[in-house]
Amino acid sequence: MRMVINGIDREVRSSPDTPLLWVIRDEWGLTGTKYGCGIGVCGACTVHLDAAPIRSCAVPIGSLAGRRVTTIEGLSPDGQHPVQKAWVAEDVPQCGYCQSGQIMSAAALLARRPHPTNRDIDTAMSGNLCRCGTYARIRRAIRRAGKDAHDPQPS
């Protein structure tokens, strides 16, 4: 079967029951997407399936033929997605392990809801665990990204 990963059409060799996470990490060597729990409850493995954030550890690859997947490596060509810039500006990460998942969830939220309320943020981000406790900065970074991304810009 084939899938589109970060804009590139690729053959998948792994067996159909393999969770997307392990195809991303082991077969494609994209290690920005992390393993945290394997049961879809920690959010470290969050990627976009089309535009929706999903927990890649809990989705078998067999159900995804022909679909488009975006990982943290494909979020922007140069690490300059508004969410990534906001993350740098607020110096969000500590250990950093959960942050790919956090950023992917935040980017999906902002695409859907450019000016999220605090409640929107909490709802969208409550499935992404951070053991280091960077939550206050995550909230600030999301608000900043929402603002920056929607300042008037040449298009």
């Binding site: 082991d26 077969e27 994209l30 393993y35 990460p93 500590q94 392990y97 959960c98 790919s100 950023i103």
Partner: protein, 712 residues
């Protein structure tokens, strides 16, 4: 002086193949060893500074980066005295070498909130020595008097405006002797230390390019997975590997310490193979262990004579004589570290060398473990430290390193062992369960005159370094209870060691995580019993610890202490000193229908001089979240010898919607830096418990807090 040239040459000899380097110019990651021009000469006056004649300035960090910011804070110490250009540095992770032994821990290791504390003078000295040698080189080259030369932003300036980049002086400086006496700057002249500089590792942590242990990739890399007995201390009796061996991609099936390992071409194949192997276990007597039995045993043990950890005056006599005695029992559960990156390690045995890539807090321990398993001498074991996806004390252990080495010995390839979350959660070294019996005596005016506490807990040192347990007291079990800061004339702290089948380890803030809960809750109980304001009583009792008094007072003011609260609302304070740092927490809570709502937390910190306020605040925010999790969620429990929590569905971490508003104040203090990674953990739970009491009259003496707060 700590500079030792012989040590340094050992370092250089083993520094090939570094896995991690940051570059401030690009603020990104550079993997692998540097591109070295053949004609580049290197000035390396000590183990932390390397200056190439191509003007590449490298600062070497000998602590593990687990989120606490050492890859930024430690280079700041060197750069300050070196007068380096902060925007043009490379930062590299140190290899293993004796020169990098952490004096606070006696090994190459990161823990005990010691990184900045133990590096403050040595790293500044390293930077200053290098600067002096560069200045001397410039003096010899130009004949200009020392007093007229100035080091600034990576160059030596001459009075006529000429500028010699450090790189241009490197070769000449390398010929000079390392100065013995190095005068350090006065903190008044710091222009890097004390600035809230952004972390150097942030950019790579936002693009997915940061390399954690689990991300290590090598040519021919195989994946190893392991499974151990669900029953604590159980052993693998036998297994049937036939079905798994027939599976495509399975390379090896072999025993590891206490369990079974499978090596396969990828992670999912390895797990599927492991699932296909029927395993039979020798459960052993661990199968009888349960939280209920431990609790009962501890409760009884608390009534026995403990070993004396601290004695002032005669607490027993004072309690007998006192007109009023208050008594309470406290219980704090086992807790898991649960770093988001599960245990993992990569090992490769080749050419008579064992190479290890590990997210480890304990390089010396990793090295010794591998040497022991392989029979290789220590200097044939090379440990590369990757980024750590959280540590919190869990990665001071070596069990995951042993797994990687054990499996890698069976194949010529490098093997990366990755634990499942379930293995990680059920085979942690947990924060010990503890039970506390406390008695306090009040004189007729309501002043505490005696404090007697018996602590029942397992010993961390019994299995690690039995000699550290002196006269029956393990100092790591009673830290924070001894050295009582409150001026109470009669104090007795006893310790009863009760080891269980549950493995225990160093969990962020260690014993202080439970002793502070007891101390700060019980002093509140004494205040209420004496009808005194808990803040004022603490202040009065802190007459000989003005640092703690100061942070306490500041936190209480900031939370609005003394103002009347509506019904169901309450304020609480707690203060505690650990790892050299005084930390106060104030909490404002509301209780509605038995549900706790945290409106606000205020944390006031006196950790001495703050090297980087941006990182310091992050550490405090993180420590508070860590403490909130243990106060509100968990616990780890045992039944039939099995840890009952296997993943984040039933061992829940704090979520973003549960993170309260937190205000942090860092008090100014020119004293040398103290610990910061841990000290904000201990006062959180008691500040909340005290606020809950103020709001509801319910005294919580167990962690985590009950899901419903009512008067039942």
């Amino acid at each position: 002086m700590i500079l030792n040239r012989r040590d340094f040459f050992k370092v250089v000899a083993s520094s090939a193949g570094l896995v991690l380097a940051l570059d401030t110019r690009t603020a990104g990651v550079n993997k692998g060893s540097r591109a070295k021009g053949a004609d580049v000469r290197t000035f390396a006056p000590n183990a932390w500074v390397r200056i190439g004649s191509n003007d590449e300035i490298v600062i070497i960090v000998d602590k593990s980066e687990m989120g606490q910011g050492v890859l930024t804070a430690l280079p700041m110490l060197v750069a300050e005295e070196l007068e380096a250009d902060w925007d043009r540095l490379r930062v590299e992770q140190a290899p293993t070498a004796s020169v990098y032994i952490n004096p606070a821990l006696g090994a190459e290791a990161t823990g005990g909130s010691s990184s900045v504390r133990s590096s403050y003078l040595p790293l500044r000295t390293a930077g200053a020595a290098a600067r002096l040698m560069l200045l001397e080189a410039a003096h010899r080259l130009t004949g200009v008097a020392h007093t007229r030369l100035r080091a600034e932003r990576g160059a030596v300036l001459l009075p006529d405006g000429q500028r010699f980049l450090y790189g241009a002086l490197a070769q000449a400086a390398a010929q000079l002797p390392v100065p013995r006496d190095v005068r350090l700057k006065s903190p008044r002249h710091f222009h890097i230390i004390g600035k809230p500089l952004p972390r150097l590792d942030t950019p790579e942590k936002t693009t997915g390019s940061a390399v954690f242990g689990i991300d290590v990739q090598k040519p021919g890399l195989l994946i190893g997975v392991v499974r151990r007995s669900a029953v604590l201390g159980g052993r693998l009796r036998d297994y049937d590997e036939r079905a798994a061996r027939a599976m495509a991609g399975v390379v090896r099936i072999t025993r590891v310490d206490g369990g079974l390992g499978v090596i396969a071409v990828d992670t999912w194949t390895a797990w599927k193979a492991l699932d296909a192997i029927p395993l039979r276990w020798e459960e052993g007597d661990g199968a009888r262990a349960s939280t209920r039995a431990i609790r009962e045993e501890y409760r009884q043990a608390a009534a026995t004579e403990g070993a004396i950890a601290e004695r002032r005056g005669d607490a027993r006599a004072a309690i007998l004589r006192a007109p009023r005695v208050i008594e309470a029992n406290y219980e704090i559960p086992f807790a898991a570290h649960a770093p988001l990156e599960p245990m993992n390690c990569t090992a490769h045995l080749h050419d008579g060398v064992c190479e290890i890539w590990a997210p480890t807090q304990a390089q010396t321990g990793a090295q010794e473990t591998a040497a022991h398993l392989t029979g290789l001498p220590l200097d044939r074991v090379v440990v590369h430290t990757t980024l750590l996806g959280g540590g919190f004390g869990r990665r001071l252990e070596h069990d995951f390193v042993a797994d990687a080495v054990t499996l890698a010995r069976t194949v010529p390839n490098p093997v990366k062992v990755v634990w499942s979350r379930e293995e990680d959660m059920t085979h942690d070294f947990y924060r010990p369960y503890s039970y506390h019996k406390v008695q306090g005596a009040l004189d007729p005016r309501g002043t505490p005159i005696a404090w007697r506490q018996t602590i029942v807990a397992a010993s961390l040192m019994r299995t690690r370094d039995p000699a550290a347990v002196k006269n029956g007291v393990d100092p790591t079990a009673v830290g924070g209870a001894v050295d009582m800061p409150y001026d109470i004339p009669n104090i007795e702290i006893g310790y009863v060691e009760r080891d269980t089948k549950v493995p225990v380890g160093f969990w962020r803030s260690v014993a202080d995580s439970y002793t502070a809960f007891v101390k700060e809750s019980f002093v509140d109980e004494l205040a209420h019993a004496a009808s005194r304001d808990p803040l004022v009583l603490r202040r009065d009792l802190l007459a000989s610890d003005l640092d703690q008094r100061r942070v306490l007072w500041a936190a209480a003011r900031a939370i609005g202490w003394g103002r009347r609260r509506p019904p169901g609302c309450g304020l609480g304070v707690a203060v505690h000193k650990s790892f050299g740092t005084s930390m106060a927490q104030a909490a404002s809570v509301r209780i509605r229908s038995g549900q706790l709502h945290i409106d606000r937390l205020v944390c006031v910190c006196d950790c001495g001089l703050v090297v980087n306020p941006n990182i310091a605040r992050a550490q405090i925010e993180g420590a508070i979240a860590f403490a909130l999790q243990a106060a509100l969620k968990g616990p780890i429990t045992v039944e039939d010898g099995r840890i009952q929590q296997r993943n984040f569905d039933n061992y829940q971490l704090l979520r973003i919607d549960e993170m309260p508003r937190i205000d942090i104040r860092l008090l100014k203090n020119a004293r040398a830096p103290q610990g910061l990674g841990e000290p904000a953990v201990p006062p959180v739970a008691p500040a909340l418990a005290n606020a809950i009491f103020a709001a509801s009259g319910i005294r919580v003496r167990e962690l985590p807090f009950p899901a419903v707060l009512d008067h039942a």
